[in-house]
Amino acid sequence: MIGALIRRDVRRGLAGPAWLPIAFFEVVAALLPFAIGPDARLLAAIAPGALWIAALTAALLPVERLIEPDRADGILDQLFLRGIAEESVAAAKIAAHWLTLAPLLLLAAVIASPLLALAGAPLVRTELALAVGTPALAALAVAVAALTAGLPRAGALAGLLLLPLAVPLLIFGAAASQGRSGALLLEAAVSLLLTAGSPFVAGAAIRASRT
């Protein structure tokens, strides 16, 4: 049942909402040279940080589609009645969101790299740091989606909730992209903590949202 749930969520993601964050990510990367100017050295210096901000906001875009439709349709209730713990449902949703987010995001960063004068070792470092950070981005998005499910203006609230939690990831992720020593390990530690903790937060939030 968990495997079926992951497959279903991946199918639903790829049928629509998964492409929006990627388009958004590319738009931010394309706008940056216009806003900053065409100085290649300056662009290359700020590119990793800018890509991280774009990735963070891109992960947030589908947040209203992650939990709320399944809550409103009674799917979360029926999964509970099949004896599947809310935490397992949340973990499945994180896995599915990551599968639709991470590969597309890494590909989008490669596509965006010429616009930001990002090439060679810095590009590889940025890709690696994004790869390590995406599970945490997916997990945080699902956790705040569960916390805000059913609330009015959930999307805006989710953004406010997620951003402070994502700050450590952003700090170490951007530092790892710039090749600071030890930053990748610290990013991996933060990513692991957020990914491991989020299913429990999301599970408790799903239980609490039942009326």
Partner: protein
């Protein structure tokens, strides 16, 4: 759960919702073959009681113990973009064919769920409930949107479930075919 044991045993159950006491000191013991009809005015807590029996809500007081339960409420729990057959198959294949036949859904299996009428979706949700193979069904207003033919199919499915040692709790104001124990809330 061995034969003779109740399918559901609720003792001294109370539920407070939004600061309002919906019911308290409610006892209910449901044995194989039972049919319970829940009645009561709107807002008297019929749906909440079913959700409480299903374990989706925690009682404010009292205890509920039960075997596995299937719930058919106002939500279809079916993916709207999928054909009906595939949307139902997500919830398991084992007894699906029997349930689809029992509610006359074969001609609709290729139709996307979003194009179905309210009555057809209700039948699909009932088929999903039947396909679980659980002994206790909780049906919340199962007749909503059903035409006369579909009501007959529902009556037959309920009779078969009770005949096979299962039990059914129905929250409805309509008269039901067969013998039912009535429980009225909100008195």
């Amino acid at each position: 759960m061995s034969a003779g044991e109740p399918l559901l045993d609720a003792r001294g159950v109370a539920l407070i919702r939004g600061g309002r006491l919906l019911f308290d000191a409610l006892d209910m013991c449901i044995s194989p073959g039972d049919g319970i009809q829940l009645t009561g005015p709107n807002g008297s807590g019929k749906t909440s009681l079913l959700r409480l029996f299903a374990g989706l809500l925690q009682p404010s007081a009292g205890t509920v113990s039960s075997a596995s339960i299937a719930l058919a409420d106002e939500h279809s729990a079916l993916d709207r973009e999928l054909p009906l057959g595939r949307a139902l198959a997500f919830w398991g294949q084992d007894r699906l064919d029997v349930a689809i036949t029992a509610f006359g859904l074969e001609p609709l299996s290729e139709v996307p769920v979003r194009l179905l009428s309210a009555g057809q979706i209700k039948r699909a949700a009932l088929a999903r409930t039947m396909a679980t193979g659980t002994m206790l069904w909780l049906l919340d207003e199962p007749h909503n949107g059903l035409d006369r033919e579909a009501v007959k199919l529902l009556d037959a499915a309920i009779a078969a479930q009770r005949g096979a040692g299962g039990a059914v709790i129905v929250a409805t104001h309509l008269a039901l075919a067969g013998e039912w124990r009535r429980v009225e809330l909100g008195q």
